[in-house]
Amino acid sequence: MALFEFELPNPNTVNPVTNLGEADQVRRSASSVPPPARQLTPVAKLIDVSKCIGCKACQSACLEWNDKRADIGTFFGSYDNPADLTPEMFTLMRFTEWVNPETQDLEWLIRKDGCMHCEDPGCLKACPAPGAIVQYSNGIVDFVHENCIGCGYCVKGCPFNIPRISPVDHRAYKCTLCSDRVAVGQGPACAKACPTHAITFGTKDEMKAHAETRIKDLKSRGYNNAGLYDPPGVGGTHVMYVLHHADKPKIYANLPKDPHISLLVDIWKGAAKYVGMAAMGAFAAIGVLHYLVEGPSTVSPEDEESAKRLTGSGRS
């Protein structure tokens, strides 16, 4: 497969067709959407970790496109810069120096971290604000900042520790998969900027097929455990990795082996909501019913007389 097969074409700037409007939403936080009239082709970003050279062009392109400026950080003994994802930095190259126990070779693993755009998004499930998180029929999960209330529930829902709450405007931020670019037929800024085509973008089927060729190549070069990271625990993702050691995703800066929405979040957003509403409703209903059946408990004149006798007052 040719190296530049997934070179992204420049956009048509004359009357571009836009999608990813409200009509293309398939899920909307804390609310429901009518089934969309059309189904967009699912898209995916494929990050081939084996081809990454750690140049951080993707980070620069991300800041540039989203018009964000990260603070100047401090050195803490790693090439990671900034140290973690921030409300401005939606994607981050995480560097790991790993000694392969089989070969004793030092391997420099560089994983571009960021939102995975889960098919079953935990952030959206946890979000209490109607319409603050939406999912489009092409698979993109997007934050709608004007609806965000800054509660941080998405942070608890996410199996990948991605969303960050801005201390400035108290809203959650993460990678949008450049939904504003994809909406007009372009690919994400990071994919556009990647000099080695370690980041490619296309339909999910294309990206899976492309990954197959990459995995075959890696296996032919001795990486017997090379594979695709498209975790089924979250229904698959619209950002996928080609890993040379797909059997050990943990070595790539703690990429979870079998991510899924936490059971605690499932209970909180499932059973607890229904049992809780039912319990509060039942207590109120029992109160009303008891009052209707029993009537008020009143103090009788005899009770008042007894009190008077006891205090020795007003004896008649």
């Binding site: 804390a30 609310s31 209490p128 604000a129 109607p130 609806n147 209330i149 800054g150 509660c151 941080g152 529930y153 942070v155 608890k156 520790n161 709450i165 201390p167 108290h170 936490s262 605690l264 979040v265 209970i267 909180w268 607890a272 909501k273 049992v275 809780g276 509403m277 319990a279 509060m280 207590f283 109120a284 109160g287 008891h290 009052y291 029993e294 008020p296 408990s297 009143t298 103090v299 009788s300 004149p301 009770d303 008042e304 007389e305 007894s306 009190a307 008077k308 006891l310 205090t311 020795g312 007052s313 007003g314």
Partner: protein
């Protein structure tokens, strides 16, 4: 002699009808600050608990304000309730007759008070409300700090936050149910609400519902 359940300010005024001072002015103010906080917390908390109730966030000026105000109201409630706790804990100590009272709950609900043991300033139901509120408020304030992201997000792991948010929701549901019982009992048992507004109940009310307490008050005077 002072019984464990006679609180400062409790006293009997002979007359027609007999009047009994049940709560001092400061106790009443303390109670209503706590009550206001609890209602505001329930409304703002429910807005974030279920999408059906998100409209309640409009009462606080939108979702962002609801999110920002809720924890601060919680802090006020915590200190306010702590004041009530210091005032009332002694009189709410669990006694032998409280078990009998609880076992005879059907008689309580059917208003057959004559079949129940004489009770002091608080009956077992009121004591249960007091202790449940105390425990649940501790759970709510501690889990609340864990999920108060604006100031405390860096102190705990995400897994701890998940546990805290579930505990917070569960404790909130229970405390709202306890609150419903508390408010309903005050409405159902006529003559009760005056204790928390004007501070007084009638002698007949005290005779019917808290006879041991009334006897202690008169005995203490004699």
């Amino acid at each position: 002699m002072t019984a464990y359940d006679v609180e400062p300010g409790d006293s009997v005024h002979p007359g027609d009808p007999v009047k009994v001072d049940r709560y001092t002015g400061t106790a009443r103010i303390n109670h209503w600050i706590t009550a206001t906080c609890l209602v505001l917390l329930a409304l703002s908390g429910l807005a974030l608990f279920h999408p059906w109730l998100f409209f309640l966030s409009n009462l606080f000026g939108g979702g962002q304000n609801t999110r920002a105000f809720h924890p601060w109201i919680g802090v006020v409630l915590f200190f306010s309730f702590f004041g009530l706790f210091l005032r009332f804990w002694r009189a709410n100590l669990w006694k032998r007759e409280d078990f009998t009272w609880l076992v005879q709950l059907p008689d309580v609900l059917a208003d057959r008070e004559e079949k129940l043991p004489e009770v002091g300033k608080y009956n077992a139901g009121q004591k249960a409300v007091f202790w449940l509120m105390s425990i649940l408020i501790l759970v709510l304030i501690s889990s609340g700090f864990v999920i108060w992201d604006q100031y405390f997000s860096g102190f705990t792991t995400i897994e701890q936050k998940r546990l805290a948010v579930l505990a917070h929701a569960a404790a909130a549901v229970i405390i709202i149910c306890v609150w419903i019982v508390h408010v309903y009992a005050a409405i159902w048992v006529r003559g009760t609400i005056g204790a928390m507004t004007r501070g007084q109940v009638t002698g007949g009310w005290a005779w019917r519902h808290h006879r041991k307490w009334l006897k202690e008050l008169i005995g203490g005077k004699a």
